[in-house]
Protein backbone atom coordinates (compact mmCIF):
# COMPACT_ATOMS: atom_id res chain seq x y z
CA UNK A 1 0.00 0.00 0.00
CA UNK A 2 2.83 2.40 0.76
CA UNK A 3 4.63 4.13 -2.02
CA UNK A 4 7.25 6.83 -2.20
CA UNK A 5 4.78 9.57 -2.90
CA UNK A 6 1.85 8.74 -0.66
CA UNK A 7 2.50 7.85 2.98
CA UNK A 8 0.20 5.42 4.75
CA UNK A 9 -2.86 7.19 6.12
CA UNK A 10 -3.11 7.73 9.86
CA UNK A 11 -6.82 7.03 9.74
CA UNK A 12 -8.49 4.90 7.11
CA UNK A 13 -12.28 4.69 7.16
CA UNK A 14 -13.99 2.35 4.73
CA UNK A 15 -17.66 1.79 4.01
CA UNK A 16 -18.75 3.11 7.34
CA UNK A 17 -22.49 2.92 7.84
CA UNK A 18 -24.93 3.58 10.65
CA UNK A 19 -28.60 2.70 10.33
CA UNK A 20 -31.15 3.17 13.09
CA UNK A 21 -33.83 0.52 12.74
CA UNK A 22 -34.15 -2.58 10.54
CA UNK A 23 -32.83 -2.31 7.02
CA UNK A 24 -31.99 -4.17 3.82
CA UNK A 25 -30.51 -3.19 0.47
CA UNK A 26 -33.78 -1.53 -0.56
CA UNK A 27 -33.72 0.68 2.53
CA UNK A 28 -30.34 1.96 1.47
CA UNK A 29 -31.61 2.56 -2.09
CA UNK A 30 -34.59 4.53 -0.83
CA UNK A 31 -32.41 7.02 1.07
CA UNK A 32 -29.49 9.31 0.39
CA UNK A 33 -28.62 12.59 -1.19
CA UNK A 34 -30.27 11.83 -4.55
CA UNK A 35 -33.52 10.76 -2.93
CA UNK A 36 -33.37 13.76 -0.62
CA UNK A 37 -33.89 12.02 2.69
CA UNK A 38 -32.07 9.92 5.27
CA UNK A 39 -35.31 8.35 6.45
CA UNK A 40 -36.73 5.37 4.63
CA UNK A 41 -40.47 6.02 4.40
CA UNK A 42 -41.29 2.30 4.02
CA UNK A 43 -39.55 0.94 7.12
CA UNK A 44 -39.14 4.19 9.04
CA UNK A 45 -35.45 3.38 9.51
CA UNK A 46 -32.94 6.18 9.43
CA UNK A 47 -29.75 5.80 7.44
CA UNK A 48 -27.62 8.27 9.41
CA UNK A 49 -24.49 7.46 7.42
CA UNK A 50 -23.73 5.07 4.61
CA UNK A 51 -20.82 4.18 2.38
CA UNK A 52 -18.53 6.67 4.10
CA UNK A 53 -14.90 6.12 3.11
CA UNK A 54 -11.93 8.43 3.47
CA UNK A 55 -8.28 8.60 4.56
CA UNK A 56 -6.50 11.10 6.75
CA UNK A 57 -2.80 11.53 6.05
CA UNK A 58 -0.18 12.24 8.75
CA UNK A 59 -0.43 15.84 9.92
CA UNK A 60 -3.49 16.45 7.80
CA UNK A 61 -6.68 18.09 9.03
CA UNK A 62 -9.76 16.78 7.29
CA UNK A 63 -13.03 18.67 7.46
CA UNK A 64 -16.53 17.25 7.35
CA UNK A 65 -19.27 19.75 6.52
CA UNK A 66 -22.96 19.46 6.01
CA UNK A 67 -26.22 20.69 7.45
CA UNK A 68 -27.71 19.48 10.73
CA UNK A 69 -28.68 15.83 10.41
CA UNK A 70 -26.38 15.17 7.47
CA UNK A 71 -24.55 12.49 9.43
CA UNK A 72 -21.25 14.28 10.01
CA UNK A 73 -21.38 13.97 13.78
CA UNK A 74 -22.48 10.35 13.48
CA UNK A 75 -19.34 9.58 11.47
CA UNK A 76 -17.16 11.31 14.05
CA UNK A 77 -18.83 9.51 16.93
CA UNK A 78 -18.45 6.17 15.17
CA UNK A 79 -14.71 6.79 14.93
CA UNK A 80 -14.54 8.01 18.52
CA UNK A 81 -16.42 4.94 19.76
CA UNK A 82 -19.37 6.82 21.24
CA UNK A 83 -21.69 5.28 18.64
CA UNK A 84 -21.27 1.76 17.32
CA UNK A 85 -21.66 1.72 13.56
CA UNK A 86 -23.76 -0.82 11.70
CA UNK A 87 -20.98 -1.67 9.32
CA UNK A 88 -17.55 -0.48 8.30
CA UNK A 89 -13.84 -0.74 8.78
CA UNK A 90 -11.68 1.77 10.62
CA UNK A 91 -7.91 1.42 10.89
CA UNK A 92 -5.45 3.60 12.74
CA UNK A 93 -1.80 3.55 11.70
CA UNK A 94 -0.68 3.61 15.34
CA UNK A 95 -2.91 0.74 16.41
CA UNK A 96 -1.24 -2.57 15.56
CA UNK A 97 0.18 -0.98 12.42
CA UNK A 98 -3.28 -0.59 10.96
CA UNK A 99 -3.70 -4.34 10.69
CA UNK A 100 -6.87 -4.46 12.76
CA UNK A 101 -10.29 -2.98 12.25
CA UNK A 102 -10.85 -1.13 15.52
CA UNK A 103 -14.57 -1.80 15.15
CA UNK A 104 -13.71 -5.43 15.98
CA UNK A 105 -12.39 -4.31 19.36
CA UNK A 106 -14.59 -4.81 22.39
CA UNK A 107 -15.87 -1.84 24.35
CA UNK A 108 -12.98 -1.93 26.82
CA UNK A 109 -10.36 -1.93 24.06
CA UNK A 110 -12.16 0.92 22.31
CA UNK A 111 -12.14 2.96 25.49
CA UNK A 112 -8.43 2.29 25.91
CA UNK A 113 -7.80 3.85 22.49
CA UNK A 114 -9.32 7.03 23.85
CA UNK A 115 -6.57 7.30 26.46
CA UNK A 116 -3.63 7.92 24.15
CA UNK A 117 -4.57 7.26 20.51
CA UNK A 118 -7.79 9.04 19.79
CA UNK A 119 -8.91 12.22 21.52
CA UNK A 120 -12.20 14.01 21.09
CA UNK A 121 -13.08 17.65 21.66
CA UNK A 122 -16.84 18.00 21.96
CA UNK A 123 -18.97 21.00 21.20
CA UNK A 124 -20.27 20.92 24.76
CA UNK A 125 -17.37 20.98 27.23
CA UNK A 126 -19.61 19.23 29.77
CA UNK A 127 -19.39 16.14 27.58
CA UNK A 128 -15.60 16.02 27.55
CA UNK A 129 -14.87 17.42 31.00
CA UNK A 130 -15.96 16.79 34.57
CA UNK A 131 -17.17 20.24 35.59
CA UNK A 132 -17.03 19.42 39.29
CA UNK A 133 -13.27 18.90 39.37
CA UNK A 134 -10.37 21.26 38.75
CA UNK A 135 -8.76 22.00 35.39
CA UNK A 136 -5.65 20.15 36.57
CA UNK A 137 -7.76 17.18 37.70
CA UNK A 138 -9.39 16.96 34.30
CA UNK A 139 -5.95 16.62 32.73
CA UNK A 140 -4.81 14.23 35.47
CA UNK A 141 -7.59 11.86 34.40
CA UNK A 142 -6.13 10.73 31.03
CA UNK A 143 -2.63 10.88 32.52
CA UNK A 144 -3.44 8.52 35.41
CA UNK A 145 -5.35 6.32 32.98
CA UNK A 146 -2.12 6.06 30.99
CA UNK A 147 -0.28 5.01 34.14
CA UNK A 148 1.14 8.29 35.50
CA UNK A 149 1.59 7.85 39.24
CA UNK A 150 3.83 10.76 40.16
CA UNK A 151 1.95 13.73 41.59
CA UNK A 152 4.50 16.40 40.71
CA UNK A 153 5.01 15.00 37.21
CA UNK A 154 1.24 15.15 36.67
CA UNK A 155 1.19 18.75 37.95
CA UNK A 156 4.05 19.73 35.66
CA UNK A 157 2.45 18.13 32.62
CA UNK A 158 -0.95 19.71 33.37
CA UNK A 159 0.71 23.09 33.78
CA UNK A 160 2.54 22.69 30.46
CA UNK A 161 -0.68 21.83 28.65
CA UNK A 162 -2.70 24.63 30.20
CA UNK A 163 0.05 27.09 29.36
CA UNK A 164 0.08 25.82 25.80
CA UNK A 165 -3.69 26.28 25.51
CA UNK A 166 -3.60 29.78 27.03
CA UNK A 167 -5.41 28.93 30.25
CA UNK A 168 -4.04 31.10 33.07
CA UNK A 169 -1.98 28.88 35.36
CA UNK A 170 -3.49 30.44 38.47
CA UNK A 171 -6.84 28.96 37.44
CA UNK A 172 -5.39 25.45 37.32
CA UNK A 173 -6.78 24.52 40.73
CA UNK A 174 -10.22 26.02 40.16
CA UNK A 175 -13.25 23.96 39.32
CA UNK A 176 -13.99 23.91 35.60
CA UNK A 177 -17.57 24.83 36.48
CA UNK A 178 -16.36 28.33 37.31
CA UNK A 179 -14.76 28.78 33.87
CA UNK A 180 -16.19 30.68 30.90
CA UNK A 181 -17.22 28.79 27.78
CA UNK A 182 -14.06 29.65 25.85
CA UNK A 183 -11.81 28.69 28.74
CA UNK A 184 -13.63 25.41 29.23
CA UNK A 185 -13.03 24.66 25.58
CA UNK A 186 -9.31 25.38 26.03
CA UNK A 187 -9.18 23.03 29.00
CA UNK A 188 -10.92 20.40 26.90
CA UNK A 189 -8.27 20.81 24.21
CA UNK A 190 -5.49 20.61 26.81
CA UNK A 191 -7.00 17.39 28.14
CA UNK A 192 -7.33 15.96 24.64
CA UNK A 193 -3.62 16.52 24.03
CA UNK A 194 -2.49 15.09 27.39
CA UNK A 195 -1.09 11.80 26.09
CA UNK A 196 0.04 13.01 22.65
CA UNK A 197 -2.65 11.17 20.69
CA UNK A 198 -2.06 10.37 17.02
CA UNK A 199 -5.51 11.59 16.05
CA UNK A 200 -7.76 14.30 17.40
CA UNK A 201 -11.44 14.54 16.57
CA UNK A 202 -13.04 17.97 16.85
CA UNK A 203 -16.82 18.10 16.91
CA UNK A 204 -18.00 21.67 16.32
CA UNK A 205 -15.21 22.95 18.58
CA UNK A 206 -16.22 26.61 18.45
CA UNK A 207 -19.98 26.44 17.96
CA UNK A 208 -21.69 28.16 20.87
CA UNK A 209 -18.79 30.52 21.56
CA UNK A 210 -19.10 34.18 20.71
CA UNK A 211 -17.20 35.37 17.65
CA UNK A 212 -14.10 36.83 19.29
CA UNK A 213 -13.66 33.90 21.67
CA UNK A 214 -14.30 31.45 18.85
CA UNK A 215 -11.59 32.98 16.70
CA UNK A 216 -9.15 32.77 19.62
CA UNK A 217 -9.90 29.08 20.08
CA UNK A 218 -9.62 28.53 16.32
CA UNK A 219 -6.21 30.22 16.25
CA UNK A 220 -5.11 27.99 19.08
CA UNK A 221 -6.31 24.81 17.37
CA UNK A 222 -4.64 25.81 14.13
CA UNK A 223 -1.30 26.52 15.73
CA UNK A 224 -1.49 23.28 17.73
CA UNK A 225 -2.26 21.24 14.63
CA UNK A 226 0.69 22.82 12.82
CA UNK A 227 3.06 22.47 15.74
CA UNK A 228 2.22 18.94 16.86
CA UNK A 229 1.80 17.48 13.40
CA UNK A 230 -1.23 15.63 14.64
CA UNK A 231 -3.92 14.26 12.32
CA UNK A 232 -7.32 15.82 12.85
CA UNK A 233 -10.89 15.36 11.75
CA UNK A 234 -12.95 18.52 12.15
CA UNK A 235 -16.71 18.41 11.98
CA UNK A 236 -18.44 21.73 11.54
CA UNK A 237 -21.30 23.40 9.73
CA UNK A 238 -19.31 26.63 9.83
CA UNK A 239 -17.21 27.23 6.73
CA UNK A 240 -14.93 29.66 8.54
CA UNK A 241 -13.84 26.82 10.82
CA UNK A 242 -13.33 24.47 7.90
CA UNK A 243 -11.47 27.10 5.89
CA UNK A 244 -9.19 27.98 8.73
CA UNK A 245 -8.33 24.48 9.95
CA UNK A 246 -8.53 22.03 7.10
CA UNK A 247 -6.80 21.31 3.82
CA UNK A 248 -9.25 18.75 2.58
CA UNK A 249 -12.93 18.45 3.12
CA UNK A 250 -15.88 16.08 2.79
CA UNK A 251 -19.38 17.34 2.15
CA UNK A 252 -22.11 15.16 3.61
CA UNK A 253 -25.77 15.24 2.68
CA UNK A 254 -28.46 12.90 4.01
CA UNK A 255 -25.90 10.46 5.33
CA UNK A 256 -23.73 10.26 2.19
CA UNK A 257 -20.52 11.88 1.10
CA UNK A 258 -21.37 13.99 -1.94
CA UNK A 259 -18.00 15.63 -2.39
CA UNK A 260 -14.44 14.91 -1.26
CA UNK A 261 -12.07 17.64 -2.34
CA UNK A 262 -9.50 20.23 -1.33
CA UNK A 263 -11.00 22.85 0.94
CA UNK A 264 -9.85 25.75 -1.26
CA UNK A 265 -11.35 24.11 -4.29
CA UNK A 266 -14.63 23.45 -2.50
CA UNK A 267 -14.91 27.07 -1.48
CA UNK A 268 -13.97 28.43 -4.91
CA UNK A 269 -15.55 25.91 -7.19
CA UNK A 270 -17.98 23.46 -5.57
CA UNK A 271 -18.97 20.63 -7.90
CA UNK A 272 -21.97 18.93 -6.36
CA UNK A 273 -25.25 20.88 -6.48
CA UNK A 274 -25.68 20.50 -2.73
CA UNK A 275 -22.17 21.82 -2.08
CA UNK A 276 -22.93 24.76 -4.33
CA UNK A 277 -26.07 25.53 -2.35
CA UNK A 278 -24.18 25.20 0.92
CA UNK A 279 -21.39 27.54 -0.19
CA UNK A 280 -23.86 30.02 -1.63
CA UNK A 281 -25.78 30.05 1.65
CA UNK A 282 -22.57 30.60 3.62
CA UNK A 283 -21.61 33.56 1.39
CA UNK A 284 -24.79 35.50 1.97
Amino acid sequence: MSSILVPDPVVRVQNLGKVYGPFDAATIDRTGSKIGTARDSTSGSIVAAWDVSFDVQPGEALGIVGESGSGKSTVLRCIAGDVSPTTGDIRLANVEDGKVNILDYDAAQRRRLRIDQLSVVYQDPAEGLALGITAGGNIADPLTAAGWRNYSAIRTRAMELLQRTDVPIDRMDDLVRTFSGGMRQRVQIARALANNPGVILLDEPTTGLDASVASGVLDLIRSLLEELNIAAIVVSHDFRVIEMLTERCLVMHHGRIVENTLTDQLLEDPQHPYSQKLIAAART
Binding site: A140, P142, S152
Partner: protein
Protein backbone atom coordinates in the same frame (compact mmCIF):
# COMPACT_ATOMS: atom_id res chain seq x y z
CA UNK B 1 -52.40 -26.25 77.90
CA UNK B 2 -49.37 -28.52 78.28
CA UNK B 3 -49.19 -29.02 74.52
CA UNK B 4 -49.28 -25.33 74.06
CA UNK B 5 -46.37 -24.81 76.41
CA UNK B 6 -44.32 -27.54 74.75
CA UNK B 7 -45.11 -26.03 71.36
CA UNK B 8 -44.01 -22.71 72.69
CA UNK B 9 -40.73 -24.23 73.95
CA UNK B 10 -40.15 -25.95 70.60
CA UNK B 11 -40.69 -22.67 68.84
CA UNK B 12 -38.33 -20.96 71.24
CA UNK B 13 -35.62 -23.49 70.37
CA UNK B 14 -36.25 -22.88 66.72
CA UNK B 15 -35.75 -19.17 67.05
CA UNK B 16 -32.37 -19.81 68.63
CA UNK B 17 -31.16 -20.41 65.12
CA UNK B 18 -30.55 -16.95 63.77
CA UNK B 19 -29.49 -18.12 60.36
CA UNK B 20 -30.72 -21.38 58.77
CA UNK B 21 -28.25 -23.85 57.30
CA UNK B 22 -29.24 -23.15 53.70
CA UNK B 23 -28.56 -19.46 54.15
CA UNK B 24 -25.20 -20.23 55.72
CA UNK B 25 -24.31 -22.37 52.73
CA UNK B 26 -25.27 -19.55 50.38
CA UNK B 27 -23.04 -17.15 52.28
CA UNK B 28 -20.16 -19.65 52.29
CA UNK B 29 -20.50 -20.05 48.55
CA UNK B 30 -20.29 -16.28 48.16
CA UNK B 31 -17.26 -16.24 50.47
CA UNK B 32 -15.49 -18.92 48.45
CA UNK B 33 -16.14 -16.82 45.38
CA UNK B 34 -14.73 -13.79 47.21
CA UNK B 35 -11.60 -15.62 48.34
CA UNK B 36 -10.97 -16.87 44.80
CA UNK B 37 -11.14 -13.32 43.40
CA UNK B 38 -9.45 -11.17 46.06
CA UNK B 39 -11.07 -7.77 46.38
CA UNK B 40 -14.02 -8.52 44.12
CA UNK B 41 -17.37 -7.63 45.66
CA UNK B 42 -19.60 -10.69 45.55
CA UNK B 43 -23.35 -10.14 45.88
CA UNK B 44 -25.11 -12.32 48.44
CA UNK B 45 -28.67 -12.67 49.67
CA UNK B 46 -28.28 -10.66 52.85
CA UNK B 47 -30.82 -12.07 55.32
CA UNK B 48 -32.88 -10.22 57.86
CA UNK B 49 -30.91 -10.31 61.12
CA UNK B 50 -31.93 -9.55 64.68
CA UNK B 51 -29.73 -6.45 64.38
CA UNK B 52 -30.57 -3.53 62.17
CA UNK B 53 -28.81 -3.22 58.83
CA UNK B 54 -25.89 -0.92 59.33
CA UNK B 55 -25.21 -2.36 62.79
CA UNK B 56 -22.98 -5.20 61.72
CA UNK B 57 -25.52 -7.45 60.03
CA UNK B 58 -23.08 -8.26 57.20
CA UNK B 59 -20.26 -9.20 59.55
CA UNK B 60 -22.67 -11.16 61.71
CA UNK B 61 -23.90 -13.22 58.79
CA UNK B 62 -20.34 -14.07 57.76
CA UNK B 63 -19.41 -15.01 61.32
CA UNK B 64 -22.47 -17.23 61.66
CA UNK B 65 -21.75 -18.85 58.29
CA UNK B 66 -18.13 -19.73 59.00
CA UNK B 67 -18.24 -20.49 62.71
CA UNK B 68 -18.75 -23.92 64.25
CA UNK B 69 -19.19 -25.38 67.71
CA UNK B 70 -15.44 -25.84 68.13
CA UNK B 71 -14.66 -22.22 67.35
CA UNK B 72 -14.04 -19.37 69.72
CA UNK B 73 -15.32 -15.94 68.81
CA UNK B 74 -14.07 -12.50 69.77
CA UNK B 75 -16.13 -9.45 68.86
CA UNK B 76 -14.82 -5.91 69.09
CA UNK B 77 -16.32 -2.55 68.34
CA UNK B 78 -13.72 0.21 67.85
CA UNK B 79 -11.21 -2.16 69.47
CA UNK B 80 -13.41 -2.60 72.52
CA UNK B 81 -14.79 -6.00 73.58
CA UNK B 82 -17.22 -4.36 75.98
CA UNK B 83 -18.98 -2.01 73.55
CA UNK B 84 -22.75 -2.54 73.68
CA UNK B 85 -22.93 -3.66 70.08
CA UNK B 86 -19.94 -5.98 70.48
CA UNK B 87 -21.44 -7.62 73.57
CA UNK B 88 -24.79 -8.13 71.90
CA UNK B 89 -23.31 -9.58 68.73
CA UNK B 90 -21.05 -11.90 70.74
CA UNK B 91 -24.01 -13.16 72.78
CA UNK B 92 -26.02 -13.70 69.66
CA UNK B 93 -23.22 -15.70 68.02
CA UNK B 94 -22.47 -17.88 71.04
CA UNK B 95 -26.10 -18.54 71.91
CA UNK B 96 -27.11 -19.49 68.39
CA UNK B 97 -24.06 -21.59 67.47
CA UNK B 98 -22.82 -22.97 70.79
CA UNK B 99 -19.27 -21.73 70.20
CA UNK B 100 -17.00 -20.35 72.91
CA UNK B 101 -16.35 -16.66 73.44
CA UNK B 102 -13.19 -14.84 74.42
CA UNK B 103 -11.59 -11.42 74.57
CA UNK B 104 -8.10 -12.85 73.96
CA UNK B 105 -6.79 -12.85 70.43
CA UNK B 106 -4.68 -15.99 71.03
CA UNK B 107 -7.76 -17.98 72.04
CA UNK B 108 -10.01 -16.72 69.26
CA UNK B 109 -10.45 -18.41 65.89
CA UNK B 110 -12.95 -15.94 64.45
CA UNK B 111 -12.67 -12.24 65.24
CA UNK B 112 -15.50 -10.00 64.20
CA UNK B 113 -14.59 -6.36 64.25
CA UNK B 114 -15.79 -2.92 63.47
CA UNK B 115 -13.10 -0.28 62.90
CA UNK B 116 -9.99 -2.17 64.02
CA UNK B 117 -7.63 -5.05 63.53
CA UNK B 118 -6.51 -6.19 66.99
CA UNK B 119 -3.02 -5.05 67.96
CA UNK B 120 -1.88 -8.63 68.62
CA UNK B 121 -0.38 -10.40 65.66
CA UNK B 122 -2.98 -12.51 63.91
CA UNK B 123 -1.90 -15.85 62.50
CA UNK B 124 -3.21 -18.39 60.03
CA UNK B 125 -5.35 -19.65 62.92
CA UNK B 126 -7.49 -16.55 62.68
CA UNK B 127 -10.31 -15.39 60.45
CA UNK B 128 -10.94 -11.66 60.68
CA UNK B 129 -14.49 -10.58 59.85
CA UNK B 130 -15.00 -6.88 59.22
CA UNK B 131 -18.36 -5.14 59.29
CA UNK B 132 -18.55 -2.83 56.31
CA UNK B 133 -21.00 0.05 55.89
CA UNK B 134 -20.08 1.02 52.31
CA UNK B 135 -18.30 -1.68 50.30
CA UNK B 136 -18.00 0.35 47.09
CA UNK B 137 -14.75 2.37 47.00
CA UNK B 138 -15.96 4.32 43.95
CA UNK B 139 -19.31 5.27 45.44
CA UNK B 140 -18.32 8.89 45.98
CA UNK B 141 -17.06 9.13 42.41
CA UNK B 142 -19.77 7.48 40.35
CA UNK B 143 -23.39 6.74 41.16
CA UNK B 144 -24.39 4.62 38.18
CA UNK B 145 -24.12 0.95 39.16
CA UNK B 146 -23.49 -0.21 35.61
CA UNK B 147 -20.70 2.29 35.20
CA UNK B 148 -19.24 1.16 38.54
CA UNK B 149 -19.18 -2.47 37.54
CA UNK B 150 -17.65 -1.50 34.20
CA UNK B 151 -14.91 0.46 35.96
CA UNK B 152 -14.10 -2.52 38.18
CA UNK B 153 -14.27 -4.97 35.29
CA UNK B 154 -11.82 -2.93 33.22
CA UNK B 155 -9.64 -1.92 36.16
CA UNK B 156 -10.45 1.62 35.10
CA UNK B 157 -9.51 3.46 38.27
CA UNK B 158 -8.27 6.73 36.76
CA UNK B 159 -11.10 8.67 38.40
CA UNK B 160 -10.11 7.25 41.76
CA UNK B 161 -6.63 8.64 41.15
CA UNK B 162 -8.14 11.95 40.10
CA UNK B 163 -10.03 12.10 43.39
CA UNK B 164 -6.75 11.55 45.28
CA UNK B 165 -5.16 14.25 43.11
CA UNK B 166 -8.02 16.64 43.85
CA UNK B 167 -7.80 15.86 47.56
CA UNK B 168 -4.11 16.72 47.55
CA UNK B 169 -4.67 19.91 45.52
CA UNK B 170 -7.43 21.17 47.79
CA UNK B 171 -6.08 20.12 51.15
CA UNK B 172 -2.34 19.78 50.65
CA UNK B 173 -2.53 16.20 51.90
CA UNK B 174 -4.59 13.14 51.10
CA UNK B 175 -7.19 13.50 53.81
CA UNK B 176 -9.06 10.22 53.60
CA UNK B 177 -8.58 8.43 56.93
CA UNK B 178 -10.79 5.41 57.39
CA UNK B 179 -11.75 3.34 54.39
CA UNK B 180 -8.59 4.22 52.52
CA UNK B 181 -8.73 2.74 49.00
CA UNK B 182 -6.34 -0.15 48.39
CA UNK B 183 -5.45 -2.19 45.36
CA UNK B 184 -5.81 -5.88 46.17
CA UNK B 185 -3.76 -8.51 44.35
CA UNK B 186 -2.89 -5.84 41.76
CA UNK B 187 -6.40 -6.04 40.40
CA UNK B 188 -9.38 -4.68 42.35
CA UNK B 189 -9.61 -1.49 44.35
CA UNK B 190 -11.44 -2.07 47.62
CA UNK B 191 -12.73 0.13 50.38
CA UNK B 192 -10.91 -0.91 53.53
CA UNK B 193 -13.72 0.64 55.45
CA UNK B 194 -13.98 0.91 58.34
CA UNK B 195 -10.41 0.39 59.60
CA UNK B 196 -8.05 3.35 60.07
CA UNK B 197 -4.97 3.86 57.90
CA UNK B 198 -2.97 2.56 60.85
CA UNK B 199 -4.19 -0.97 60.22
CA UNK B 200 -3.80 -0.98 56.45
CA UNK B 201 -0.15 -2.07 56.24
CA UNK B 202 -1.15 -5.05 58.37
CA UNK B 203 -3.46 -6.33 55.63
CA UNK B 204 -0.54 -6.61 53.22
CA UNK B 205 0.82 -10.14 52.94
CA UNK B 206 -1.07 -11.06 56.09
CA UNK B 207 -1.07 -14.55 57.58
CA UNK B 208 -4.80 -14.40 58.25
CA UNK B 209 -7.92 -14.42 56.11
CA UNK B 210 -9.95 -11.22 56.11
CA UNK B 211 -13.62 -11.34 55.18
CA UNK B 212 -15.60 -8.15 54.62
CA UNK B 213 -19.38 -8.17 54.97
CA UNK B 214 -21.79 -5.40 54.07
CA UNK B 215 -25.30 -6.49 55.10
CA UNK B 216 -27.17 -3.45 53.93
CA UNK B 217 -25.39 -3.37 50.57
CA UNK B 218 -25.54 -7.19 50.23
CA UNK B 219 -21.88 -7.63 49.34
CA UNK B 220 -19.00 -9.71 50.66
CA UNK B 221 -15.34 -9.51 49.66
CA UNK B 222 -12.14 -11.00 50.93
CA UNK B 223 -8.40 -10.65 51.29
CA UNK B 224 -6.93 -14.16 51.44
CA UNK B 225 -3.67 -14.75 53.32
CA UNK B 226 -0.47 -13.66 51.56
CA UNK B 227 -2.19 -11.21 49.24
CA UNK B 228 -0.64 -7.98 48.04
CA UNK B 229 -2.56 -5.02 49.44
CA UNK B 230 -1.31 -1.60 48.32
CA UNK B 231 -2.87 1.65 49.48
CA UNK B 232 -3.36 3.90 46.45
CA UNK B 233 -0.91 6.76 46.60
CA UNK B 234 1.29 8.74 44.28
CA UNK B 235 4.94 7.73 44.00
CA UNK B 236 6.12 11.04 45.42
CA UNK B 237 3.56 11.17 48.23
CA UNK B 238 4.26 8.35 50.68
CA UNK B 239 1.31 6.67 52.35
CA UNK B 240 1.19 7.82 55.96
CA UNK B 241 -0.53 6.27 58.92
CA UNK B 242 -2.13 8.27 61.70
CA UNK B 243 0.50 9.32 64.20
CA UNK B 244 0.44 11.84 66.95
CA UNK B 245 3.91 12.83 68.06
CA UNK B 246 4.53 12.52 71.75
CA UNK B 247 1.27 10.87 72.67
CA UNK B 248 0.99 7.73 74.74
CA UNK B 249 -1.74 5.65 76.32
CA UNK B 250 -2.70 7.09 79.68
CA UNK B 251 -3.38 3.55 80.99
CA UNK B 252 -0.54 1.38 79.73
CA UNK B 253 1.88 4.01 78.46
CA UNK B 254 2.10 2.51 74.99
CA UNK B 255 3.17 4.76 72.14
CA UNK B 256 3.32 2.02 69.55
CA UNK B 257 -0.37 1.14 69.39
CA UNK B 258 -3.29 2.90 67.73
CA UNK B 259 -4.43 5.53 70.19
CA UNK B 260 -7.78 7.25 70.33
CA UNK B 261 -8.57 10.47 72.08
CA UNK B 262 -11.28 10.77 74.63
CA UNK B 263 -13.66 13.43 73.37
CA UNK B 264 -14.01 15.18 76.72
CA UNK B 265 -10.36 15.91 77.41
CA UNK B 266 -7.54 16.85 75.15
CA UNK B 267 -4.32 14.98 75.72
CA UNK B 268 -6.31 12.06 77.01
CA UNK B 269 -5.17 9.28 74.76
CA UNK B 270 -5.78 5.58 75.24
CA UNK B 271 -5.25 2.38 73.30
CA UNK B 272 -8.18 1.68 71.04
CA UNK B 273 -7.62 -2.06 71.57
CA UNK B 274 -8.77 -2.43 75.19
CA UNK B 275 -7.93 -6.12 75.57
CA UNK B 276 -4.37 -5.53 74.40
CA UNK B 277 -4.02 -2.55 76.74
CA UNK B 278 -5.33 -4.57 79.70
CA UNK B 279 -2.95 -7.41 79.00
CA UNK B 280 -0.01 -4.99 78.97
CA UNK B 281 -1.03 -3.59 82.31
CA UNK B 282 -1.38 -6.97 84.01
CA UNK B 283 1.95 -8.23 82.75
Amino acid sequence: MTTLVSQFIAQEELTQTVLDEESKREIRRALLHAVCIPGYQVPFGSREMPVARGWGSGGLQITLAVIGENDTVKVIDQGDDEGVNAVNLRRLVTSSTGCEETTEVCEATVIQSRHRIPEDVLTDEHILVLQVPVPEPLRGIERDMRELSRMHAESDYSRMWVSLYEDKVRNGVITQTTGYPCLVNERYVIATTPIPRWDIPRLHNAEFLTLFGAGREKRVYAIPPHTIVEPLTFEDIPFEIEQNEGTQCRLCGSNTSFLVQSPSQEDNWACSDTAWCRARRTQ
